[in-house]
Point group: C2
Chain length 484, copies 2
């Protein structure tokens, strides 16, 4: 109390009337009575110092609690923790809580929960969010999906990325403004094959630039993997990747989307588009090859082995089921959750030391492993799968190789994805015909070139649409900070 | 084969007679028949391309195998893998294997195993290793201890550090040359209290600078924690931290060491040294406070709770014993290994998801967990300890809080260290007397200021001795690369 009081006093004295002094304080550490609680010490502290700062900036700690993903917390989820603050001070109060929709923001202001809305991740997804609210262009807001890929760069020492906003982190390096897009440099028409995240972003941006774009999607539904995955537990907000782009494209006269339209080489040759972009995505491997296994797992060619696409298509494997996660991002655990919710006995087996090990980088790992344990899913870590005979798998300790048999009726294998590159290969084999048809470029983007995150797929689509007509060079293509 | 052949051909063609072309190749992936083996494909490949490169640079992969620590591999441990190479080529061959002693290097050359000695980590520990060999100053070589702290910076995105060579990574930033040391700037005499890694490095460097230095060590043995820890399984080479410094100090007339000499405030006041440096180290906490517990663990004040110092002093706890590792570096697992070797039934309990979790940064984690499992040590991860009643502990899942009782006769607690700061506090309380005695500075360095790695303690001793007489400034004190 005294330290904080003196810090505020000294700071106010130092800045004088030049600027306001804000105090950020976590009002709940979510440690129960082992830490500060919003109903206890936090109320006393803020009550006693109530009128000293010019602005109270309140949230919860630690970072994983403060920046929860959409999988684990709803928009505005800090309301119950911070709502008391305005009752003990007359000073304005700002808070956060992954606010993405103007309605949720306005609701907290009107109901007197907050005076200011803090929105870091939503501003990463759309830096022009306040301007669009002010202009009434609510439809044009690119809403954060709450995946925390933005956070992962902090842990992996890589540039920040955003699933929704591919220009994030490239404003200076590549000169990509999130709203100002260079106009088209020619009259070429485009055929984009595939309406997943990469194809849709590519088509949206080519359309914004003024090009004529045709998008052919083989499936009856648009959105590719985000449409499939957003039906899984906790991932509904991910459909915004599709919805934002479709909404933008629907306003354009120069972009046409054809659903249920798988295309052949012959059709592409006949179509008449000068430029062809392949965004055909990837599929999950069925053979068990992934990080721990460079060769197919014996028995994974059996009928009791299911891929994520099988489960997302609604197939229910016979129980008990083993989910083998050698992917280590979110999907293995999400599928385990879905199958458990369907009443199945589920064991998650992984060669990693943690469930969804990579999600330490999205601040979700603890919450994921806790949720699976709370749901009664058995977890066997540090184990590879050696073989499966339809009735049991042989699991081997990754450290010692010691083996054990695990009885199971089925296996869901989540190990790695293989690119859908058949069309690219067929077009390459028909290079002469392609040239004769007047097609001047064929490019693969996103998962069909290199399976990766949704953010990487959107980025690839954006980059192609933005830079395909740039002069080619051997230089890195972006500015670097070089020591003087 | 063809790819490698064409790469060599094209490279040789490109460089012409301008320079030699070396080929680095891992002759064994240590994957058994799942990868390249030195007795199989590697021999065929190098045999067929034998005379094409000007130099063969051979090792094993992956990095954890290529850069094994002294805990897991002896000097020259790659000999069995690479010795065949010279039998299939007339070109010179270079290899690695953490060579630290000239004898081991010369032996491999004389026996025809290698033509050149590769030594990265030994050159980090002593960049003047070749010069010292050439000059015959073998005693002055600062031998790598094989701890791989150097590697950890790569994983933690922090500047490289070396336990033996504190100038590593500071050559440009701070202008620290590993051999060229600035001479003394005055006549002050020094009293260094404590002859652990920090005190010894401080005394060595002050001595090199020409100062008169007295070192008072309370214990009968010198070296502090490295003397204790180097008696543990696999850590013998760590004694080099002490031995290099004692060997250097023994050559100096101006540095005196007093063993078995604990000092009081009164003795320091009487001693007559103008500058006092406190390097009194740290001790392991007995109360269980560490990363997972901010409060003492109930029952850890009982007689069946042992600290690492108890075990290193030769006390044997009653079995079965639980080693509670909430430190996550090497010591918990090393102590478990020692107790198991003494025939005790041992269970290692840790709130982390891995045994010695931090050692992923030293490339040792896999080897450590495998060794413990191979030794028959039970491992219970993701568990905190709630209490201990002398006969069993209550362990709680870190995710769900679910509790279980574990019968045990004793607990060895490895959680955190507390600084030995009593002397510093007593001197601060006697500030008037200190000034009256003519003492112009009292500084704490190393573990007694902030418990850390051995590398950090050595660094602190070096930095004090090198910079105490630098002009003080608010600037960072080192050069930075700033974008132009």
């Amino acid at each position: 109390m005294r330290l904080l009081r003196e810090l505020i006093e000294d700071t106010k004295e130092a800045v004088g009337a030049e600027c306001a002094v804000a105090v950020r304080i976590a009002v709940d550490e979510l440690l129960g009575d082992g830490g500060i609680e919003c109903g206890g010490e936090a109320r006393e502290v803020i009550g006693l110092l109530a009128e000293m700062p010019d602005l109270w900036d309140v949230n919860v700690s630690d970072w994983a609690h403060d920046s929860m993903t959409s999988r684990f917390a709803a928009e505005g989820y800090q309301e119950d923790f911070v709502r008391f603050v305005k009752s003990v001070t007359t000073k304005p109060v700002v808070g956060v809580g992954r606010f993405t929709s103007p309605d949720a923001m306005v609701s907290q202001i009107r109901r007197g929960v907050l005076d200011f809305i803090g929105a870091a991740r939503p501003s990463i997804a759309d830096p022009f969010l306040p301007n669009k609210v002010a202009a009434g262009d609510l439809d044009d807001i690119r809403e954060c999906i709450g995946c925390n890929v933005c956070v992962s760069g902090d842990f992996t020492s890589t540039p920040i990325r955003c699933t929704q906003n591919p220009t994030m982190g490239e404003e200076w390096r590549r000169g990509w403004h999130p709203e100002a897009i260079p106009p088209r440099t020619g009259d070429d028409a485009f055929l984009v094959v595939g309406a997943g995240p990469s194809g849709l972003e590519c088509a949206r941006l080519l359309g914004r630039r003024g090009y004529t774009v045709h998008v052919a999607e083989a499936a009856p539904l648009l959105g590719g993997r985000v449409t499939l995955e957003s039906s899984l537990p906790g991932l509904a907000a991910w459909a915004r990747v599709r919805d934002y782009r479709l909404n933008q494209i629907n306003k354009m006269q120069n972009v046409q989307i054809y659903r249920g339209s798988s295309v052949t080489v012959a059709q592409i040759l006949e179509f008449g588009a000068r430029r062809v972009v392949l965004a055909t995505g990837a599929r999950w491997r069925r053979d068990g090859v992934g990080r721990a296994n460079t060769r197919a797992i014996a028995g994974f060619d059996g009928t009791a082995v299911f891929t994520p696409e099988d489960i997302m298509a609604g197939r229910l494997p016979p129980a008990p089921v083993i989910v083998f996660d050698d992917d280590h991002y979110y999907l293995g655990a999400v599928l385990a959750e879905k199958l458990r919710a369907a009443g199945l006995a589920v064991t998650l087996v992984t060669p990693a030391a943690r469930v969804s090990a990579w999600t330490v980088n999205t601040l979700e790992q603890f919450a994921i492993q806790k949720r699976l344990l709370d749901l009664g899913i058995d977890i066997l870590m540090n184990r590879n799968i050696v073989d499966f005979d339809g009735g049991s798998v042989t699991a081997a300790c990754v450290f010692t190789g010691r083996r054990q048999a695990l009885a199971t009726a089925s296996v869901v294998t989540v190990t790695a994805r293989a690119p859908n590159e058949q069309l690219a290969e067929a077009l390459a084999a028909a290079a002469g015909d392609v040239q004769a048809a007047g097609i001047i470029s064929v490019n693969s983007i996103g998962d069909c070139l290199a399976p990766g995150t949704i953010a990487a797929a959107v980025y690839a689509g954006h980059r192609y649409a933005r830079e395909f007509d740039f002069p080619q060079s051997d230089l890195p293509g972006f500015r670097r900070e070089l020591p003087g």
